[in-house]
Amino acid sequence: MPNKIKVHEKALGHLSRGLYRSPASALRELVSNAWDGNATVVRINTNYPSFFQISVEDNGDGFTRETFSNLMEGGIGNSPKRPASAPLLNDRPLIGRIGIGLLGIAQVCGTFTITSKPKKGEGFRARVNLYDLLKNSLDENDKNVVVGEVVEIGEYEFDDEYDLTKRPTGTLILTDTVHPTFTRAFQESLKFEKYEEPPRDWKKALQILSKIHSLQEVGDYWRLLWELAASCPIPYVARNALPDALIREDQERLEGYKFRVYVDGIQLFKPVYLRGNQSGYTWRKISQQSKVYGKELAFHGYIVVQEGAQLHPDELRGILIRVKNVGIGYYDPSMLDYRFNEGPRAKWLTGEIFVADGLEDALNIDRDSFNRFHPEYRTIQTYIHKILQGEIFPDVWKQIDVRSEAKAKKRNSERQHNLKTVIKEAVSTPVKLRYKPEADKGEGPQQAETKETRDRFEIALPKTDTLDTKKSNRQLANAILAIFEVALREKTDENRRKKFTALLLKFLEKW
């Protein structure tokens, strides 16, 4: 008979302290809890500009003292998903279960207070104190922490004297002493050269971010705002935030959920606003439904390429997958491990994939990344790569050709104009430039010729593509030939030499 494989609760103990890679990821879990709790407003306060405390407050259903006790006493990692029979407000899809995310805040502080006033049932205020140096204690099998197969990671105590009648319905999580490293990093970021105070109007904040290369330049506070804006299930700044009404339906859906997130009084919206690029945009709408190993997988979204211009900040580049509207990790600049090198064009691309059904099993426990070999993830990856390789990038290349052609045409015309101007100044009469008809083979290389009439100076140039030199040199060669002919009109060699040099240098000033 095979032996059973078991997991010790110490594993969960470790997870309780090292699950999220950034404060935004930990806070995102609390925002998700608020969403599932039918909240319409979540307010995160970072104590900006001091950062000595953080709070997350929502106006949702709250949870009861009993639920909290159950969670704290073994329910973390074991909480049932909300029943499908209890639909969420405004047809929101259910994100997850209240669980370890509740302790995510432990990554920035060791003690916090949670106050919840449910719509039904008994509310509570409790102070949670997570043990210091837990990882050491776990490794050393400290008997105060590892009790048999159970791991005790901290303590909680109800504050029965607190008068809950004063509080509105919902949940408030408030840290006590935030870790000094966090406080310091955030305070320091306000002193960065490129730091600007985030305006309360998020659209204006996006304008600031569109002028920087990376969020690193503006520091951790902006990064927190941006990451929360990217990951929370909130609307875009406007229906036209992306070209050609790409997100119109998504915006209607997201607005319909009536879910707002504020950080320090700033109402967040998704951090993407692509308008006004000179060379325009190339885009594809995505919509796909399939079955993977018998499970439904449904996703839709968009991919947009900002033609000829890098996206700013860098963090907007790549593809972000959203499961039940919540961003998983960051925008992936590898485009889900796209295997072709598209050079700088990859830096023009951004996209979002909204996964409505499936992919949850592919989520890693941090809910910040995927198992990249999960069949559902692979299905999405293959689909996206097919679109990138077969449709998006070929279009982008075509656009590059179109733009290059237009650019070359414009440049050539400017250079012709420059040549005419330089010669006109030398001969003091209007100048006409024309190309000679193609010569017969065997006649040797064509030369430029000049003809002076009473009212104009005419130069006949060889056709550029007949000159036997590199394509990129032909226009310059032609110009030099023209200048040479003009210089030849001088009477002495010395004057010809002087004239040629002067005209050439003058012409090259604007080359």
């Binding site: 000595f52 709070s55 210091d132 870790h179 490293t181 406080t183 310091r184 105070e197 009084g265 109402q267």
Partner: protein, 380 residues
């Protein structure tokens, strides 16, 4: 804001004082700023400190009245302290961008810091500790020091509002008490130069508001003795004061006053205690405006108590302590002090009662302030 978190926020009597006493004082301070010597000094915004701040109704009122000017809807020239994280959280929702410190004001202000005189790296306290382990106790210690240093760096303020709900003098510590010791530190830090960008300003004066409950009735004898000494000194130095005292309280002896008429004793001696602390830190009360007193009576289950509100303009001593010889206070300063003291004996406090206030005006003013709060909360 959670309903009732600050139960006197809507109190019309209290709001009358805000509107009719605090507001004119702050407006006057702003007017004085506009008379600054340089353009930068004239153009700068008013810096305001408030403790306790919960609800920040005073700040919102000054915003409505355009005395405080937020930048991009952020109250970056407002600093406040509150007793706990929850209150700070509530306040910052109402006045985003204000610099809020949670914790025990007195403990933080009076904490020992060997680096206080040389604050170069304000973030040093938040650097990873090399010897101590990463425990809650270590982190709390680091945070306390960091808060203190950052609080010091916010100084000076044009207006300071110590809006206490409790007693100024707490019997469990020796005189002058924890709060008075903290105030002294605050007045010391008020001498710091104000730095805004690359500009630096020296404060010639500021406005001070102090609210305290009158009491406690069982104030220990050592406190009473200390306060009585101020009164006796005043009486000894100015023969005209004793008749004024008699006229005002019915007695002319501070000992009797302390024993039998404690509230009058408190009203007369507390402003002087404060004036003396200010003088010790190189400031003095402007004799032209003196100290204004307002009072509210409140009921509680055990009876009634009174809240005393003190308002004053403060000036920097001239020449300041760095530019004069050590020795007894200059004559002009003593004259100013005498004038202020005499005014305290002469002028009675204004008792703010329902009969005095214009209730519709108060309600409508409060509504304006609530609307402003709703704007910052994103509820509009």
């Amino acid at each position: 804001m959670a309903e009732g978190l600050f139960k006197y926020e809507d109190c019309p009597l209290k709001h009358h004082i805000r509107k009719e006493a605090w507001l004119p004082l702050c407006k006057n301070r702003k007017r004085l700023l506009r008379q600054g010597r340089t353009k930068a000094a004239r153009d700068r915004r008013l810096h305001y400190f408030t403790f306790c701040a919960v609800g920040a109704i005073d700040v919102l009122m000054l915003d409505v009245e355009k005395v405080i000017r937020p930048s991009n809807d952020r109250f970056d020239t407002v600093c406040f302290f509150d007793v706990n994280e929850e209150y700070v959280n509530e306040t910052q929702k109402s006045i985003p961008g204000a610099i809020g410190f949670p914790g025990d004001f007195v403990e933080i202000v009076c904490a020992d810091d060997p680096e206080e005189g040389n604050l170069i790296d304000d973030l040093a306290a938040l650097t990873s500790a090399t010897d101590a382990q990463d425990t809650l106790a270590t982190r709390k210690q680091q945070a306390c020091l960091a808060k203190r240093r950052q609080f010091i760096l916010q100084f000076p303020f044009d207006v300071i509002n110590f809006d206490l709900e409790g007693f100024l003098f707490q019997p469990n510590t020796p005189p002058p008490g924890r709060l008075m010791r903290a105030f002294r530190k605050v007045f010391e830090w008020q001498r710091r130069p104000l730095r805004i960008g690359t500009s630096q300003f020296t404060l010639d004066g500021f406005s001070l508001m102090l609210t305290t409950q009158i009491g406690p009735p069982n104030l220990p004898q050592d406190y009473r003795d200390e306060l009585r000494r101020y009164l006796e000194e005043n009486l000894d130095n100015d023969a005209e004061l004793r008749p004024l005292l008699l006229n005002r309280t019915g007695v002319d002896n501070p000992t009797t006053l302390s024993a039998n008429y404690f509230e009058d004793f408190f009203r007369l001696s507390t402003p002087k205690a404060l004036a003396n602390v200010l003088m010790a830190e190189d400031w003095y009360v402007d004799p032209d405006t003196g100290i204004s007193l307002y009072e509210i009576e409140r009921a509680w289950e055990g009876g009634k108590y009174r809240m005393l509100h003190l308002l004053m303009d403060i000036k920097r001593q001239n020449p300041d302590r760095d530019h004069r010889f050590a020795g007894p206070p200059p004559v002009n300063l003593l004259d100013a002090y005498r004038t202020v003291v005499r005014a305290i004996f002469e002028r009675r406090e204004t008792a703010v009662t329902d009969a005095l206030i214009d209730r519709p005006a108060i309600d409508s003013h409060l509504n304006l302030i609530r609307a402003r709060r709703a704007k910052y909360l994103g509820e509009n």
